[in-house]
């Protein structure tokens, strides 16, 4: 049992791309944490990491992490490696507490298998749906739970970025193989599940803009168990989204809520209007790298390790996102 104040949490990061750097940087800045190892496949990156991090082991295989007595592992590899890496971590008993960057896996079958392993082996697990830790979406969830606009009647959601906007179709640029739904759309699906509960996909359309197999924009409609209809619009080829953005418009019988990464607005039927920006919602954190929500997310995971309690979003709730995305793909194919 870890004694807070005496021992430090010993952590490692597997996959040292931009998300690995971000989480490792935040974790290492925390006084109760020690980054003891980093696991990275690229020889070039490993070569430089060995020079950069003098007190951190740099390895190329998850198996080499087994003897380090780790309290937890952060998995920040490309999405297609999540399944194999997390499975190895559990099977090789590298650590029982695992954080995986979103989404949990490349498909629902893999996600379900990881859930089975997690259930069998115990420990705390979490998936990096960091928008649940954004002040605007948290406030939205709170107001929806309080019934400020009454029960939701319908909603529309978007997840957009300009990452691949304006790129010539014949250029050598390659979009991530997992597609826009798992890379970006998963945030909107996760928030919708958090706000409204489980839902079924009614119809779906997926477009390829960069050749066969490329999945660059998607539109789909859903219905929740209580009959609330929802629409999703997802794309990484839209102008005006310098930073990826997720947003919702929720209609209730008493008014309308609009929320995105920057602001939250409520318009009640009587004409009253309330508005909050990040500035109004206590957005400061202990250490700022990337966005405040990453710090809150890491803090939440670490607290749950120390307390030995489950945390949300865990593997089980996150697997539902993979299920919805698989349903969208299946419906779109059938068309």
């Amino acid at each position: 049992m870890l004694k807070l104040g005496v021992d430090k949490l010993k952590l490692t990061v597997v996959g040292f791309g931009k998300m690995g750097i971000l989480h490792a940087g935040i974790l290492n800045a925390l006084p109760k944490v020690q980054l003891v190892a980093v696991c990275e496949k690229s020889g070039l990156i490993r070569k430089f990491m060995k020079k950069l991090f003098r007190d951190v082991s740099v390895v190329d295989d998850v198996g080499e992490l087994s003897d380090l007595g780790l309290d937890a592992v952060y998995v920040t590899t490309p999405i297609s490696y999540h399944f194999a890496v997390v499975k190895s971590i559990y099977n090789l008993k590298v650590a029982s507490n695992v954080f995986v960057e979103k989404p949990l896996a490349s498909n629902y079958g893999e996600a379900r298998e990881l859930c089975d392993l997690a259930r069998r082996l115990g420990g705390v697990n979490m998936v990096g749906y960091m928008r649940r830790f954004s002040v605007t979406f948290r406030k939205a969830k709170e107001l929806l739970s309080q019934g400020v606009i009454d029960e939701p009647v319908s909603f529309s959601a978007y997840a957009c970025s300009s990452d691949f906007y304006g790129i010539d179709k014949n250029s050598k640029v390659s979009t991530p193989k997992v597609g826009v739904l798992r890379d970006l759309g998963c945030h909107a699906v996760d928030l919708a599940l958090w706000f409204f509960g489980d839902f079924k996909v009614k119809n779906a359309k997926i477009d390829s803009l960069f050749g066969e197999g490329s999945e660059d924009s998607a539109f789909f409609e859903v219905e929740t168990q209580s009959g609330v209809g929802g629409k999703f619009d997802v794309s990484w080829c839209v102008d005006g989204y310098r930073m990826p953005e997720v947003g919702f418009t929720v209609e209730g019988s008493k008014g309308v809520m609009r929320v995105n990464d920057d602001e939250l607005e409520i318009r009640l039927n009587g004409g009253e209007r309330f508005r909050w920006f990040r500035h109004d919602l206590k957005d400061n954190v202990g250490f700022w790298l990337g966005a405040p929500e990453y710090y809150r997310e890491d803090e939440c995971f670490l607290k749950s390790l120390i307390d030995g309690k489950n945390v949300e979003p865990d593997f089980f709730s996150s697997a539902k996102v993979d299920l919805v995305i698989d349903e969208v793909k299946a419906k779109a194919k059938r068309k």
């Binding site: 040292f16 791309g17 931009k18 750097i21 971000l22 490792a24 940087g25 935040i26 290492n28 800045a29 690229s42 070039l44 990156i45 070569k47 430089f48 060995k50 020079k51 950069l52 991090f53 490309p78 990452d163 691949f164 790129i167 640029v173 390659s174 991530p176 005006g240 989204y241 310098r242 930073m243 953005e245 947003g247 995105n260 990464d261 920057d262 602001e263 920006f277 990040r278 500035h279 957005d283 400061n284 954190v285 202990g286 250490f287 700022w288 790298l289 990337g290 405040p292």
Partner: protein
């Protein structure tokens, strides 16, 4: 500019279509990247109204703006504060080129074809012997040479600042030796080493612990009346600011990304100690005129 004079800098965020307030509002207003010609005009108007410097991320867009300012004879009235790397473009490039290895190759190619022999030699040494400091020097030499070729010999590149993402990641990883090498490299070239950070108290604490002289460097950090992006808190940032040995802080986000009116924003900044200057972005001619007149009146 004398050492006592406040730095009143035109910031370049609006020239790239950046809004930290609300991306949606920015889209609705139809904000897009400003043309280099119009951006240069805005900088010139700001200079006529009291601005004495330009703070910019080193990118093709800002180098075009500098080129025009040079041709118009404006650049010789300005102190230049370059921010490297232009993180947004590099993050986007990493997404498109398959991650960090793809990005590294693209940057190496740019440096190689730049014709900057010092940068190429240092870069080769860095890659072959896996020396991060040699690579950093190669990259910095390359970026400095890009700025100098855009503005000519008459320009004053007063300060080069490390981008917030890089500064804060290096702080998180405790890379004291990298900060020291950066400071030495810049001081050797007669350029003030600067650090753009979102963790001002943390940076000051670390620099003191690592014996990096706070008198030799410039720190750009958010300071505004509502505490927006002041981490971990407005109170802690103000306390640490007051403890500095001399004014070496550039206040950024003073308008809290457009949340505050210029008058109330400037009132707050005017009451703070150790503020070397401010950087404010402008997107309209009227803003350039009024904002810098106000800053000049209240802060000079």
């Amino acid at each position: 500019m004398t050492s006592q004079e406040r730095a009143l800098l035109v910031g370049d965020n609006p020239f790239h279509g950046i809004s930290h307030f609300s991306q949606e509002r920015s889209r609705i207003r139809g904000d897009t990247s400003t043309s280099p010609e119009y951006a240069a005009k805005l900088v010139s108007i700001a200079v006529e109204n009291g601005a004495n410097g330009f703070m910019f991320s080193v990118s093709d867009t800002t180098l075009s703006i500098l080129n025009i300012l040079n041709e118009d004879g404006v650049v010789e009235h300005l102190d230049l504060y370059g921010i490297v790397p232009y993180a947004y473009e590099y993050v986007r490039m990493a997404s498109q080129k398959g991650g960090l290895p793809g990005l590294a190759k693209a940057i190496a190619k740019e440096i190689f074809f730049s014709g900057n022999f010092g940068a190429v030699a240092s870069g080769l040494n860095g890659v072959v012997l896996a020396k991060p400091i040699s690579l950093m020097k190669a990259y910095l030499a390359y970026e400095i040479s890009r700025v100098k070729s855009a503005v000519g010999k008459n320009a004053r590149l007063s300060c080069v600042l490390l981008h917030q993402l890089v500064t804060d990641a290096c702080l998180g990883f405790n890379l004291d030796w990298l900060f020291k090498a950066y400071v030495d490299f810049m001081l050797d070239r007669g350029i003030k080493p600067g650090f753009n950070t979102g963790n001002f108290p943390f940076l000051v604490e670390k620099f003191r612990e690592w014996n990096i002289s706070l008198e030799d460097v410039l720190v750009a950090a958010p300071f505004n009346k509502v505490g927006f992006q002041m981490v971990p808190s407005k109170e802690e940032c103000e306390k640490v600011l007051a403890s500095l040995p001399k004014p070496n802080v550039l206040a950024i986000s003073i308008l809290a990304a457009g949340y505050l009116k210029p008058e109330e924003a400037v009132d707050y900044i005017a009451g703070l100690p150790n503020i070397k200057g401010v950087a404010v972005g402008v997107s309209k001619e009227r803003h350039a005129n009024e904002t810098f007149k106000l800053l000049g009146d209240r802060l000079s």
